[in-house]
């Protein structure tokens, strides 16, 4: 029997949603500091309006829905999924007010793309946007990569058991430390240490390649935030091509790979357990996947003959591949070049890389390496069963921080999410094709949106149909939260109608 959700459920959801919205308002204070530093008045006003609307909404929800009760699983999941919708709508307000987005839908698209660490953009005239708004674009990516709820857990919540439910709802089922609040804080510690190091490296490189010191520092912070959080926004419309620098490309590749690794793995590396890097199923799978898919891309690019030298082919092919595989979306080629200069084999390689993603408990989207590794192990186990005598007991193990026996439950979970992602990629591609785009391009863009990558072959633009924009927004949202918390909303609505 399905139980009908009660008013109390709605109140609990509303109360915690209100708290997270208040946290979002606090996040908008940071760009105001930037606007004061750069003396940008109108952008400061845009964010003031954004803060006022957010605080208003947050206050109303917290006050009307005030409760002392803790969250259950369903409520936690719904809070998470609604938080992301609220973040998109409220985060889009200052963006829309800047006048750099043609419609509120376009601003929502970029806000969701930012929070979900995707990187697809509809912003207009990025070259003349204020430092304040430009910082906000990168800041929301950093916040989204850490997880909006993780931030709230770290700073605004003083330990309650519902914390873990929201943490899981944000597609982070692995606890690094026994307490989920401490886990959230550790994720922040890792990110801030890398933030300082990465910004320094990019900032110094920026000065060495001829940028003005302030710009190089600003770009350094922004590029770090979107590289480590595998987001893909950049301060200029040319993405990484703007810098015309091999050193800049190399640093961003390192940051993208770091961002694609499991935070739990970072913890073990920091603790001196370097062997984990070699033994872990995720890093092994990632390495094999990169080598195999790069071979495909390289053969494809060699066939086209676009890149005259092997080193040039490697630089262009490898960069786009790492960017796609890590789910970042930085480009060192122009979007239409994917369709015009790359052949179907190279594009298929890129689509495959984007669809797989990085590690679980990282900032990447997509299917993720642990699930691919588990499915591969399951396949190997079944093959062994066929080959070996019937009486033989076949046991398969894999190493992920510790040795784990391959159980059917694990395989089922990995397979379900994999199938769900494939359906999501296909759904976006179908909508794209129904809007008149060719199959490969539609699949490329759909995979990029659903896997939170952000590479574009030229479809994403202000001119694309509103239906496709909404589809990509949905894909980014569902893909970032890995289905469960979004499906819970559907379950909630169903229970409200059919429940007793």
């Amino acid at each position: 029997m399905i139980l009908k959700p009660q008013l109390e459920d709605v109140k609990i959801i509303g109360f915690y949603l209100g708290k997270i919205i208040m946290g979002l308002a606090l996040a908008m204070v940071v760009p105001i500091f930037i606007s004061l530093c750069c003396w940008e008045i109108n952008p400061a006003l845009d964010f003031l309006v954004g803060i006022e609307i957010s605080v208003m909404l947050g206050l109303i929800l917290v006050c009307v829905c005030r409760t002392d009760k803790d969250l259950n699983w369903m409520q936690g999941m719904i809070v998470v999924s609604l938080s992301w919708v609220a973040a998109m709508l409220l985060g889009a307000i200052p963006m829309y007010l800047s006048g750099h987005w043609k419609s509120f839908l376009d601003a929502c698209f970029d806000a969701m793309s930012g929070f979900a660490t995707t990187g697809l953009v509809l912003v207009q005239d990025l070259e003349h946007i204020s430092y304040t708004h430009n910082f906000w674009r990168h800041w929301i990516m950093f916040l989204g990569g850490q997880g909006i709820v993780v931030i709230a857990l770290s700073f605004f919540v003083r330990g309650f058991s519902g914390a873990f439910k929201m943490y899981v709802g944000e597609a982070r089922e692995e606890k690094i430390l026994p307490n989920v609040i401490n886990t959230s804080r550790f994720i922040w510690l890792v990110s801030i240490v890398y933030l300082v190091l990465g910004t320094l490296a990019l900032g110094v490189t920026g000065i060495l390649i001829g940028m003005k010191p302030f710009n190089s520092l600003f770009h350094g912070v922004c590029i770090f935030m979107t590289a480590f959080d595998t987001g893909g926004f950049s301060p200029q419309s040319q993405s990484i091509l703007y810098y015309h620098s091999f050193a800049y490309e190399t640093i961003t590749v390192i940051l993208m790979v770091f961002g694609a690794l499991n935070f739990k793995l970072h913890y073990h590396l920091w603790a001196g357990n370097r062997k984990e890097l070699v033994r872990n199923i995720e890093t092994r799978t990632l390495f094999v996947s990169i080598v195999a898919i790069f071979s495909l891309v390289a053969v494809g690019l060699f066939q086209t003959g676009v890149y005259p030298k092997a080193i040039v082919l490697f630089r262009k092919g490898f960069y786009q591949l790492i960017s796609g595989h890590s789910g970042t979306g930085f480009q060192t080629i122009y979007a239409p070049q994917f369709s015009a200069d790359w052949n179907p084999l190279a594009l298929a390689g890129m689509i495959l890389a984007m669809s797989l993603g990085g590690a679980v408990c990282s900032t990447t989207g997509a299917i993720k390496m642990l699930r691919i590794g588990i499915l591969f192990k399951a396949f190997k186990e079944d093959l062994k069963r066929i080959i070996m005598p019937e009486r033989a007991i076949v046991i398969e193990k894999f190493h992920h921080i510790r040795d784990v026996f391959l159980e059917d439950k694990l395989v089922r979970g990995a397979l379900l999410i994999t199938v769900a992602y494939i359906i999501l990629y296909g759904f976006g591609a179908l909508v794209g094709m129904s809007c008149g785009y060719p199959f490969l391009g539609a699949l490329f863009e759909s995979t990029s949106a659903a896997a939170n990558v952000g590479l574009s072959c030229g479809i994403t633009g202000t001119g694309m149909p509103a239906a496709l924009k909404i589809t990509y927004i949905l894909q980014m949202w569902v893909g970032r939260l890995e289905f469960m918390s979004v499906f819970t909303i559907l379950g909630f609505i169903f229970a409200r109608i059919k429940g007793k």
Partner: protein
Amino acid sequence: MRKIFFVILSAVFLVFSPGAAFSQTLSSSDLIDNAGLYDGKLVTFSGEAIGDIMKRGDFAWVNVSDGKNSLGVWMSASLAKEIDFAGSYKTRGDKIEIVGVFHRACPEHGGDLDIHACSLRKIVSGGAVPEKTDFKKIKLSIILSGVLFLIWILTLFKRK
């Protein structure tokens, strides 16, 4: 007669040779979408200098935007010196016209799509763009502050 023949022959050579020049200004979309067609050819491209003028020894990178895309232009530092303003939030960059060799995947610069400038002409000078305060936004934020204050008072009453 000989002179006429020479002029015609030169014109034919200019049009059909691998390094043929496109005197008509091309847009960034033309160049990116038909990169194979223009590869290695002399092209004319115009737009606003944006971002940073990045000096690299005797040369410099200037990114030029025609409103649709920005293209990287590699030029001598002496040419780059002619650019006084590069576009940003508070600056309108110089509008320049570049004549140079277009590369679909420049072997010298790691396969970047770029233009190696031979000449640069400033079409319109840029300059500082002072920010005009938007009073509508000020009004809106004041009204919202009032509403917010009211809601806050109401929440205090509800708590009591």
